[in-house]
Amino acid sequence: MSQNGQPKLTVANATKYYDTGTGRVHALDDFSIEVQEGELACLLGPSGCGKSTLLWAMAGLHGLSSGEIRLDGKPVTKPNPQIAMVFQEANLLPWRNLIKNIELPFEIRGQRPDQARIDALLAEVGLTGFESKMPRELSGGMQQRASIVRALSVDPSLLLMDEPFGALDAFTRDEMNLLIQQIWMETRKTIVFITHNIAEAVFLADRVFVMSARPGRLARIFEIDLPRPRNLEIFMAPHFIELVGEIKGSIDHKPQVQAA
């Protein structure tokens, strides 16, 4: 809880329909959660259940059919400087080199890039010396690290991540998850992290919010009480495996989900 006792991020009765040429798609149904200040929350759900739809609404990139998103108690209706987003597949601009990509948000806001902050972040993710490389010269993991630096360079208080490591191989993925934990423990930023990988969610999260299949509803919330810092051995720990199994079960039992 922040000092005035309100959650950092509130999603209140979020419902969204897409009107398409072939009819109406009910993407999100009466979805409500609260994410606390400094929390690392994972949103877990099957493909197409409305995770991106929800995250885009959190980022103020599109509106809801009904319901509301609040950041620090204030409604989010358009992109907010306090919120930064990391996309699936690094989403770097291929015509800009690494440093120009990282400076994009400053350029857009007409600010001078925070050089000290950028350099420190680059060093932290191990990209020092790659500033003038073009995205295509970087590996997938390096690209995604660059995009994390880009998001953090503007010092947001809420970081939204939409399946950021979905396209990476298992080794790089583990490495990136350790990096996220490290960054989160240092900065204590509020993070909403989307994934459909249960183990990834359990490894990272304070709480895992499980979504049902479309239309996306909140099915269950799991508190992850594993001690931090978590290392890769934890994937073998009995309690970890137990949690993964429990969450898996909650996704498979559809009728119970509907009742939630």
């Binding site: 897409y18 009107d19 991106s52 739809t53 995250l55 885009w56 980022a59 103020g60 990139l61 599109h62 509106g63 809801l64 059919s65 009904s66 509301e68 998103i69 409604p75 989010v76 209706t77 358009k78 992109p79 400087p81 919120i83 930064a84 987003m85 996309f87 699936q88 597949e89 989403n91 601009l93 291929p94 015509w95 994009l104 948000p105 350029e107 857009i108 806001r109 073009m134 995205p135 295509r136 503007v154 939409d162």
Partner: protein, 283 residues
């Protein structure tokens, strides 16, 4: 219901296809020139050229082909040198027509493409007319233009504009239609305005296709300029072609052809270089 920019609402937030922006024709045009890499290749090309032109020279001399049928390469080069005082100014006239006409046509084509692609309905309505402009040989209009504007620069410049503009436009439009929602969302998430999204995302993304359009448009412009000069008026390289052929001065005639070839190739090389500089990220 939260009020959000209308443009943003209901855009598909899927990123699966985000990285897969299609590669324009540029790469194929570019690869032709990138063959030139390596000194061994250069030697090979030079040797081939020497064999082709030397062979032509030799054969034409051997069979004593008269110059009014086919001049030897050396005669053509010699004619270009000796008659340059007469041919030179006409090169200038043709280049002026090309430059002015192409600049106007390309600017209009680029702006129209940028604007029209933002409004799908407008694009649908306008598309048939653009296609009409692309497929109609603008040369056919030249006699009409001469009637209206006389034998000066004006009808030729108009013809060049009409020939190059639509070419630039359809290619640029293809570029601008490549909307990568994830990249636009990225810029918007940092608070970018519509103008900033245009300048920082849409234009760079369209650039490879714009350059292809500029290359094709300028070559079309050159062809149209020369053609228009052949139709009427008393200056320009096209006019020289009719003039020298009527006098059966074939070395001079081919000297003009040579100049035109050099101009055409220079245009190609120039846009190849521009593409390398501004659109190399795509290859």
């Amino acid at each position: 219901m939260a009020s959000v920019d209308r443009e943003l609402r209901d855009k598909i937030p899927t990123f699966e296809k985000a990285g897969a922006a299609d590669v324009g024709n540029w790469s194929s045009a570019a690869s032709t020139l990138s063959i030139l890499k390596g000194s061994r290749d250069v030697t090979l090309i030079l040797v081939t050229a020497i064999i082709v032109f030397g062979g032509a020279e030799l054969l034409l001399r051997l069979f004593e082909v008269p110059a009014y049928i086919a001049p030897t390469p050396s005669q053509v080069v010699w004619a270009l040198i000796t008659d340059f005082p007469y041919i030179g100014p006409h090169i200038g006239y043709t280049l002026i027509e090309l430059l002015v006409g192409f600049s106007i046509g390309a600017s209009i084509g680029f702006v129209l493409a940028a604007v029209i692609t933002q409004f799908p309905l407008v694009e649908k309505i306008v598309a048939p007319y653009i296609l009409l402009l692309v497929t109609t040989p603008m040369l056919a209009l030249v006699p009409l233009l001469i009637l209206k504007f006389g034998f000066g620069f004006t009808p030729r410049i108009i013809a060049v504009t009409l020939a190059s503009g639509p070419m630039v436009m359809i290619n640029a439009a293809t570029g601008f239609r490549r909307t990568d929602l994830a990249k636009i969302a990225l810029a918007r998430s940092f608070g970018a305005s519509t103008l900033q999204i245009f300048l920082k995302i849409r234009i760079p993304m369209a650039m490879p296709m714009v350059i292809v359009g500029l290359m094709i448009g300028s070559i079309f412009g050159l062809l149209t300029a020369v053609g228009a000069e052949m139709v009427g008026g008393s200056f320009g390289l096209g006019n020289r072609l009719t003039y020298y052929s009527s006098l059966i001065q074939m070395p001079q005639f081919f000297a003009c052809i040579l100049v035109l070839a050099v101009i055409g190739i220079s245009i190609y090389v120039f846009f190849y270089w521009v593409g390398k500089k501004w659109a190399s990220w795509e290859s």
